[in-house]
Structure formats: structure tokens, C-alpha cells
């Protein structure tokens, strides 16, 4: 661990409280909020900070998530730092405005507490909500636990607001599993957190009479395509910024973050690729199997957009086979979204890659299920079709 240069406090917080704590430290100018389980507690906590005078944020209690994202867009266009948070159907209701936020290059930061989409109605963890927004032009960073959710929240502002990036950023955490579980984590002191995040200086604002601008004008066949290409460039520029920000954060806290986390991968023969809280369970399974002398590893994806295809391909390139675990189904596709990205990243390498769907609607991913995926990789030829962990036939 790198030397820590600032003091930190250990607190027992839920994931929701941890991100609310990060938002309190950032003290954003505007927060547009609308409740939805399991996110509700996050903005509830943050609104307490607002009403207790602990932040100077203008809190707008809007009438829907569509309005929440619209209000965040308006605030960001006005040149201030804007946040919001949501889950599942709330994110779905924001959908058209997500594209406006990214298309207008407004660096909004949003916490997404992952939850299954209805119907049938389900309020538990599932990545289908955020995965549905994977092509919306937002940066997506996933968290394994409360500590990561807090750390990612602080880093998100620096990434989103960087002049070479200027893309809205969502940081996610697994609904209930992280959002409602109390864990001990380290919190930076307020001054250090604020200094790290820094002041937001918008490139343009609608509210500067010295430099009037027009935002969101009609953009037809002549220029729309070019503006989309610029968004791609923002995504191309993001990795260097994500890395730089992570390095500065590590110097401050001792906690290192990459695009991926490789766990016991050096001499691994097979590995599982996961995102979110399932990484914790998978690490335990890796340890158990390693004790039995079985050479397995795990790769956790932290950043899903921009997708770290080079880092992932490099981490997996020495393996005999790979299983990719998705907490989301892409109906009618060959596998889950993480699987398809992984296969693309591994194109040209003769390594079999298998798709496993798990945990939909909050179904528990118990260690024996992860173990069964490793067993498949070692013992037989896994079914080339999508497989399911913990599904009753």
C-alpha cells in the first residue's frame, strides 16, 4: 500500500450512506432527487445534509426521474455541478434525457443503485438497469462494496469534468447487497476530499452574459454525426484521465483502482469475470479452490464504459478458458452484455469463453454456484449456450 498522506476516519455505513457522505463532501451546487427503492435512502440521507446546513446544495425535489435528469441537465448547462441518483425503472424513465446529458457534454454525476426492471415487479439487485444505458454515452463505474462506492463517487467528478472528457458519469452499486449493508469503510477528511475533487470550472455556461452561448440547438444531417464522433473522442480520452485520477487517489488514500482488478491471476489456468458485489463472493471461492491446489483466478471489471478491452484481454490471454458472469440478460443475444464485450475484447484468441447468467432479481449468488462455474471450466466442455447459476429447471 502506498503511504497515506491524509488522515481518514473509519465509519460503519451502508453503501447508500457512503455515497451520500461522498456527495456531502463534494458539496455539489444542485441535486435533483426523486425516490425509488433501493436508492431512496441515499438521497434521503443527502437531503438531511441539505436541511441541516451541512452542504450549500440547492435540492430540487422533482416529480419524476425524467424531471430529475432534466433538472440536472438544466443545472449543468447553467454551469454548475449537478448530481442525482436512481435505480431500475427510475433510470429507465430517465432514458431519453441520459442521451441529452451526454450529447450536450454535461458532466453530471449520478449514483445508480442497481435493481431489476419490472415486470414482474422486483426491487432487488440486477444490472439490467445500468446495462440498458450502456450505449447512452455515460461513463459507467461499478463498485464491489461500500468503500469502492464511496471512492468511485469522489473520483467520478474529476473524470466527468475533465476538459478532455466532459461526459456524464454513473457510479453503480448493487441494490440492497451493497446499498443496504453496513460495512466499515475509510472516509477522507472533508478538506482533503474537497481538495481532491476541486472546484468545477465549466467551459461554457448559459448564465454568463459576457459570453452568451446556444446549447442544444437543432443539429441535422450536416453536423449531428460529427458531434457523435466527438463523444467517442471523450470516451477515448477517458482512460488516461481515469488512470490519472486513480493514481492521485491512491497517493492520497493508499487505495488503488484500475479498470479491472486481477485477483490471483498470475498462474491461473481459468478465471471468472464479474462486476459488482459478486466479486467478493468469487474471491472467496478462488481462495477455497486455491487451498485445494486448483489454479483459478478472478477478474473484476470496475469500468464498463469506456470498456477496458486491452487490459481485460491482457489479463485473460494466458488462460485455458474463461467464464463471464452477467447479472443481466440480453434477450435473444448469445450471452450477457459483459460476456459479449469480453468475447469482442478476446477476438482472435483461441480461448473458449462461456456466458453465465446469475442473480437476476436479487437471487443470491452463493459460493457453491460460483464454484460450479469453475468446475465446468475444469471438468468438461461447458455448454456453448448461455448457462444459468442458481436457476431452477
Amino acid at each position: 500500500m502506498a503511504r497515506k498522506s491524509v488522515s481518514m476516519t473509519k465509519l460503519a455505513l451502508t453503501g447508500n450512506e457512503a455515497v451520500a457522505e461522498a456527495f456531502r463532501q463534494v458539496n455539489p451546487d444542485v441535486a435533483a432527487v426523486y425516490p425509488i427503492t433501493p436508492q431512496t435512502e441515499l438521497m434521503h440521507k443527502f437531503s438531511e445534509y441539505v436541511y441541516d446546513g451541512k452542504v450549500e446544495t440547492e435540492l430540487i425535489a422533482v416529480e419524476s426521474e425524467h424531471s430529475a435528469m432534466s433538472a440536472a441537465v438544466g443545472a449543468a448547462a447553467g454551469g454548475v455541478r449537478a448530481i442525482t441518483a436512481t435505480s431500475a425503472n427510475g433510470l429507465a424513465l430517465m432514458w431519453e434525457v441520459l442521451y441529452i446529458a451526454s450529447g450536450l457534454r454535461l458532466p453530471i454525476v449520478m449514483a445508480v443503485v442497481n435493481r431489476a426492471l419490472s415486470g414482474p415487479l422486483n426491487i432487488h439487485c440486477d444490472h439490467s438497469d445500468a446495462m440498458g444505458a450502456r450505449d447512452s454515452g455515460w461513463i459507467q463505474i461499478y463498485s464491489e462494496n461500500s468503500q469502492e462506492a464511496y471512492d468511485n463517487a469522489l473520483q467520478a467528478f474529476r473524470i466527468a469534468e475533465h476538459s478532455g472528457v466532459l461526459l456524464p458519469t454513473m457510479i453503480t452499486m448493487d441494490g440492497f447487497i451493497i446499498s443496504h449493508t453496513t460495512e466499515v469503510l475509510e472516509i477522507l477528511d472533508d478538506a482533503a476530499a474537497r481538495e481532491f475533487v476541486g472546484e468545477y470550472k465549466p467551459m461554457y455556461t448559459l448564465l454568463n452574459p459576457e459570453q452568451p452561448v446556444t446549447m442544444g440547438p437543432l443539429d441535422l444531417q450536416d453536423y449531428y454525426f460529427e458531434h457523435k464522433r466527438q463523444q467517442v473522442e471523450g470516451m477515448y480520452n477517458a482512460p488516461a484521465v481515469i488512470e490519472q485520477v486513480a493514481q492521485e487517489y491512491a497517493a492520497l488514500t493508499g487505495r488503488k483502482y484500475g479498470f479491472i482488478e486481477a485477483y490471483r491471476m498470475e498462474d491461473a489456468e481459468t478465471a471468472v469475470v464479474v462486476m459488482g458485489s459478486a466479486a467478493g463472493t468469487t474471491k472467496d471461492v478462488v481462495d477455497t479452490l486455491r487451498e485445494r491446489g486448483i489454479k483459478v483466478g478472478m477478474v473484476k471489471l470496475r469500468v464498463f464504459r469506456p470498456f477496458p478491452h486491452e487490459q481485460l484481454a491482457e489479463a485473460l490471454s494466458h488462460l485455458k478458458s474463461v467464464a463471464v458472469l452477467d447479472r443481466c440478460i440480453s434477450f435473444g443475444a448469445q450471452g450477457g452484455p459483459v460476456y459479449m464485450e469480453t468475447r469482442s475484447a478476446m477476438y482472435g484468441k483461441e480461448i473458449p469463453i462461456y456466458s453465465y447468467i446469475y442473480g437476476l432479481g436479487g437471487r443470491d449468488l452463493i459460493p457453491s454456484l460460483v464454484e460450479s462455474a469453475y468446475n465446468d471450466l475444469f471438468e468438461g466442455t461447458p455448454d456453448p449456450k448461455m448457462r444459468y447459476l442458481g436457476l431452477r429447471e
Binding site: 450529447g103 452568451p212 452561448v213 446556444t214 442544444g216 440547438p217 437543432l218 443539429d219
Partner: protein, 99 residues
């Protein structure tokens, strides 16, 4: 027509680095109904001027002066907000004005 620029040479996000761009846009071409003003009825309350979404009511010395037909899109809001007892603006189909 000016030559179209590449993606590296334009501001990001479709931003136009100056204001007042709506002025250059001829919303008048959208019009299928045209507001017609009756000077004798008008009481110069300027409610129409306040409410026109396209700044297409021209006022001078706090009096109704006329319409800016390059920008009037014929939405009819002015006719709607003109006080009912006054009724100084009537919307007429554009077809009545064609040669």
C-alpha cells in the same frame, strides 16, 4: 454555403459559441394560420407581446405595433391571450393570403 467543418474543428456538444441564434431561424415558414390585428379594438395591454413564444410581436412606445412575420409561426397564443372582451387578434388560414 460555407464549407462544412470536421469534428475536430467545431465546439463540442452542438454548442454555438454565441447567443441570439433563434433570430436567424425563420420560424415564419412554419405558419399555417396568420394572426390579424384589429387596431380599433386593441387596448395596447401588450399581453400578446408578453406571451408570444417567438418574440414576434413588435411593440413600440408601449403600444402594439405589428407582427414580425419572419418569426411568427402562427401558434395562435397571441389571439388566445388577447382579453376576450377585446378580441383584437384573429387567426386566419394562410391560404386566404395566397395569390
Amino acid at each position: 454555403m460555407s464549407e462544412l467543418k470536421g469534428w475536430k474543428d467545431i465546439p463540442i456538444g452542438g454548442l454555438i459559441p454565441h447567443g441570439g441564434t433563434a433570430f436567424d431561424y425563420e420560424t415564419g415558414s412554419w405558419r399555417s394560420f396568420r394572426p390579424v390585428h384589429d387596431r380599433d379594438k386593441c387596448i395596447d395591454c401588450l399581453d400578446c407581446w408578453f406571451c408570444c413564444p417567438d418574440n414576434a410581436i413588435i411593440a413600440e412606445d408601449q403600444k402594439f405595433k405589428g407582427f414580425d412575420m419572419m418569426h411568427c409561426k402562427g401558434c395562435g397564443i397571441c389571439a388566445k391571450v388577447c382579453p376576450p372582451k377585446v378580441g383584437a387578434i384573429t387567426m386566419k388560414p394562410e391560404s386566404e393570403f395566397e395569390e
